[in-house]
């Protein structure tokens, strides 16, 4: 019975010891084994590993994957003294676990240091640019990605060698103005809109007048052309009529003159006309008719 108990106790102790000295390294992590603070091993490949049990060797796990964090929004001055609030994010990964472990210890410290570094670099880099390089409808002048690349390269120089960190990506994710500037931006936007509205209204009047005038002009033109055409038509008619008359009358002009004169007399001698006629005229010559005249 007692022997049995001993066996059980021993096996329990052995199991506990084994469980304390076995550990699994994930695909996602680096492990640094320390022995009373001294770094003994760095494990970069996943799998099952052994170590001295419990406190004799300690496991320090670090994430191998790309870590991302956002910096707090920060107000910076540009070269043209424009203030601007930028929020950015940083993607980094541990490139040298040992340096990282020694210089930064853990993720929180790393994020704090990196955030300090990127923000100060961003501040000094922005000093070389104007607002035109950040916000512009002319895409060629925008230098956002250039700024981001500069920050990455400057920070990486320090980060890689001193902190064991490699910055994969740095991006400006929000561009904003300070509140006071925002107020004036609002006012400006409003003024711009009012201007625009006024322009539309004026343009409307302009178009209206233009169209009206054009229409009037076209109408006048149409009528004038018609008048011209009408005159020509009339003239042609006249001309033809004259030709016809001439052709006919020239056959016997004397007779025409005689006929026409008769017509004219008829026309001009209206009702109230008083005529003084001589009996010697051809018409009245028969009033004093004598046979002797008939010869």
């Amino acid at each position: 019975m007692k022997r049995n108990m001993l066996f059980v106790v021993c096996s329990i102790i052995i199991i506990v010891l084994i469980s304390l000295s076995i550990f699994i390294v994930d695909e996602r992590e680096f492990v640094i084994i320390t022995q009373f603070g001294r770094v003994v091993r760095i494990i970069e490949k996943p799998g099952l590993y052994f170590k001295l049990p419990a406190f004799l060797e300690n496991i320090n796990r670090f994430d191998k994957r790309v870590e991302i964090f956002k910096t707090q929004p920060i107000q910076l001055l540009l070269r043209d003294k424009n203030p601007i609030i930028l929020t950015s994010f940083v993607c980094y990964k541990i490139s040298d676990p040992l340096t990282y472990f020694q210089s930064l210890t853990n993720k929180d410290v790393a994020i704090q240091r990196l955030s300090d570094m990127t923000i100060s670099t961003l501040g000094s880099t922005l000093g070389e640019y104007t607002i035109e390089n950040i916000i512009n409808t002319d895409a060629v002048k925008i230098k956002l990605s250039e700024i981001e690349e500069k920050v990455i390269s400057v920070c990486n120089q320090k980060a890689k060698s001193k902190y064991g960190i490699e910055i994969i990506s740095f991006g400006i994710q929000r561009i904003n103005y300070p509140t006071i500037v925002l107020e004036s931006v609002y006012n400006r936007m409003q003024a711009e809109r009012d201007k625009e509205a006024q322009r539309y209204r004026a343009e409307g009047m302009e178009e209206f007048t233009k169209i009206e005038a054009t229409a009037a002009k076209e109408a006048a033109q149409i009528e004038a052309e018609a008048y011209k055409k009408a005159e020509i038509i009339k003239g042609e008619g006249d001309k033809k009529a004259i030709e016809i008359y001439t052709k006919a009358y020239s056959k016997d002009p004397k007779f025409y003159e005689f006929l026409k004169s008769l017509d004219v007399y008829n026309e001009i001698l209206k009702e109230k006309t008083t005529l003084i006629l001589s009996t010697e005229s051809d018409l009245l010559k028969y009033l004093n008719y004598k046979e002797k005249d008939e010869k």
């Binding site: 695909e27 996602r28 996943p46 994430d63 191998k64 994957r65 991302i68 994010f89 993607c91 950040i134 916000i135 512009n136 409808t137 895409a139 994969i168 991006g171 994710q173 929000r174 904003n176 925002l182 609002y186 936007m189 409003q190 809109r193 625009e196 509205a197 006024q198 209204r201 343009e203 409307g204 178009e207 209206f208 169209i211 009206e212 229409a215 009037a216 076209e218 109408a219 006048a220 052309e225 009408a230 038509i233 009339k234 042609e236 008619g237 033809k240 009529a241 016809i244 016997d252 007779f255 008829n266 001698l269 008083t274 005529l275 006629l277 001589s278 009996t279 018409l283 009033l287 004093n288």
Partner: protein
């Protein structure tokens, strides 16, 4: 009524006041610790009441000896005995048993609150902190008062109730200070609540154990004879266990099957353990198997279905919902309670972006995505979703800063979605996120609400412009056809004139030609005839003065004036 009863009733009154005040304060502050403390005070009332009842009953009667227990063994008999015992028990035992159960429920409920703790903003921490320190003085007074009476009258109940009030004082002090700490920025509300919950729990156990034991030992003043510490210690006492086992052996005949319990437990345990080697991948998931942390199936994930693996410490399965299209919001989130998405009405939070022409816009964008590469998704980035959000924000910020506001809200909007999608995908691939953007949906983009009105006025004046233009065209559509009609009329008139002219001429000339006499004789005759006909026509009806020149000068003078006058008339 003796002095002991007076003291206990005073304690009850004070505790009631304190409890009501504490519940009122919870209502104002919302602190979990205060809620727990209020419940705790409620237990104090119960305690004080019990002390009072026990003091009264002690006066009135002795505890009845329970009816004789029958000697026959058997399960049914035992249960009946217990039932009879309970039925015959004095009132205070029943009451305190119920209180014990109630306290147990309260402590469990509060413990649940503690686990699912949602940080709340505590109102008026400074004032309520000071009030609680005041309460602690109240509790201190109760403690002093009860111990004094208790020692002078030698009442165990009063003394222990006094001790309880002392514990109360410590609780109130703790809460008071925790609230003051909260004011200073240190939130230990949850921790204090836990302490109080444990306190209530221990009190509940204490009450229950004391009720049972003191009843079975037939003691009169039973309350708080056994402290919680004694109870905990007794659990580890070997003799108690032996007693319990013997009790079971006597009363429950199925004790002999007890030796199979370890075997059954072992079987259950191993079944549970080996069942972890089966795993199910759902219809919309894929899985990755890790053996000792190393992914087994690089490049090809495990497809839906039932699969086998080594049990727990060896193999681990990671499931990813890869075929589900998920979405994240960029910029503002639409408040779904808003009836319609109008520019002039607030319908989300206020995330602003800047456009290339320095305008402020508030976009509402939904990015739909899918997990394209499970391995990259799991092993390359720690927080792929934060990455997706940050990158999307960055791309939108840079796209917006390149275009003018008017373009963004109108002509460029469709193309913007496509451009943003390409850019975001490019960045995501560069950083090996394993995420595939399915679509980008710009639900709404609007200017700040305060100036949305002037944007709408622009549109209104644009409409006004269009209206004017249309009106002008309407007028034009009237004048031009009219002019054309007039023109046609003029021309037709001219043509008719011309035709008339020509035809007249033709007719007249033809008539003339026909009138021309063919020979000389006929000419003179016809001429005379025509002349005379015409003269007849001409001179008919007209005033005529005929003068014969041979007769010399006429005798009449022509009065022209008269003639003209006549004519005028």
């Amino acid at each position: 009524m003796n002095i002991k009863q007076n003291a206990s009733i005073t304690a009850v009154g004070l505790n009631v006041t304190l409890t009501v005040l504490k519940f009122v304060m919870y209502f104002f502050t919302g602190s979990l610790a205060i809620l727990s403390e209020a419940w705790h005070s409620l237990t104090d009332i119960a305690t004080s009441t019990l002390v009072y009842i026990s003091l009264r009953t002690q006066q009135k009667r002795e505890i009845k000896t329970p009816s004789a227990v029958s000697e026959t063994k058997g399960k049914k008999k035992v249960l009946r005995d217990i039932f009879i015992k309970i039925k015959d028990a004095p009132l205070e035992y029943k009451v305190s048993f119920c209180i014990g159960i109630l306290l147990l429920i309260v402590s469990v409920t509060l413990f649940k609150n503690f686990i699912y703790y949602k940080p709340v903003i505590i109102q008026y921490p400074l004032v309520s902190g000071i009030i609680f320190i005041g309460f602690s003085f109240g509790s201190y007074m109760i403690y002093k008062f009860e111990t004094k009476i208790g020692t002078s009258e030698k009442s165990i109940g009063l003394i222990s109730d006094g001790m309880h009030a002392k514990a109360d004082m410590i609780m109130s002090l703790l809460i008071g200070f925790s609230l003051l700490f909260y004011k200073l920025g240190l939130n230990i509300d949850r921790f204090i609540a836990l302490i109080i919950v444990l306190f209530i729990f221990s009190y509940a156990v204490e009450t229950l154990v004391n009720v049972i034991i003191s009843y079975s030992k037939r003691e009169r003043e039973y309350i708080f004879r056994y402290k919680i510490i004694d109870i905990i210690v007794s659990i580890f006492d070997k003799n108690n266990w032996i007693k319990a086992i013997n009790f079971f052996k006597e009363h429950f005949p199925f004790y002999r099957y007890l030796k199979y319990v370890p075997l059954v437990l072992l079987i259950i345990f191993s079944c549970t353990y080996f069942s972890t080697s089966f795993y199910i991948i759902n219809y919309n998931e894929v899985g990755v198997i890790e053996r000792f942390g190393k992914p087994l199936n690089w490049e090809i994930p495990v497809l839906p279905g039932l699969h086998l693996k080594f049990p727990w410490p060896v193999d681990k399965v990671l499931k990813v919902k890869s075929s589900v299209i998920q979405n994240i919001n960029i910029g503002n989130t639409i408040d779904d309670n808003v009836f319609a998405l109008l520019w002039t009405k607030e319908h989300g939070d206020k995330e602003m972006f800047l456009s290339g022409d320095n305008n402020i816009l508030l976009p509402y964008i939904k990015v739909h995505y899918q997990i394209k590469d499970v391995f990259k998704y799991l092993y390359c980035n720690k927080e792929p979703l934060v990455l997706l959000e940050s990158i999307s924000n960055r791309i939108f910020a840079s796209i917006f800063s390149r275009y003018s506001f008017d373009d963004i809200i109108s002509i460029y909007r469709g193309r913007l979605e496509k451009d943003a999608m390409n850019d975001i995908q490019e960045e995501l691939d560069k950083i090996n996120s394993g995420i595939q953007i399915i679509s980008i949906n710009i639900k709404d983009i609007h200017p700040p609400v305060s100036i949305a009105g002037s944007f709408e006025r622009v549109i209104a004046s644009y409409q006004e412009k269009e209206r004017l233009i249309n009106f002008a065209y309407k007028n034009k559509n009237k004048t031009i056809p009219e002019a054309r009609g007039n023109a046609e009329e003029i021309i037709k008139n001219a043509e008719s004139y011309s035709i008339k002219k020509v035809e007249y001429a033709d007719g007249e000339s033809k008539r003339f030609i026909m009138q021309i006499p063919s020979s000389y004789e006929s000419r003179s005759i016809n001429k005379s005839r025509l002349y005379l006909d015409k003269m007849k026509e001409c001179l008919k009806d007209k005033r005529k003065i005929i003068i014969d020149p041979k007769t010399g000068i006429p005798e009449i003078w022509i009065d022209f004036n008269k003639i003209l006058e006549e004519k005028r008339r």
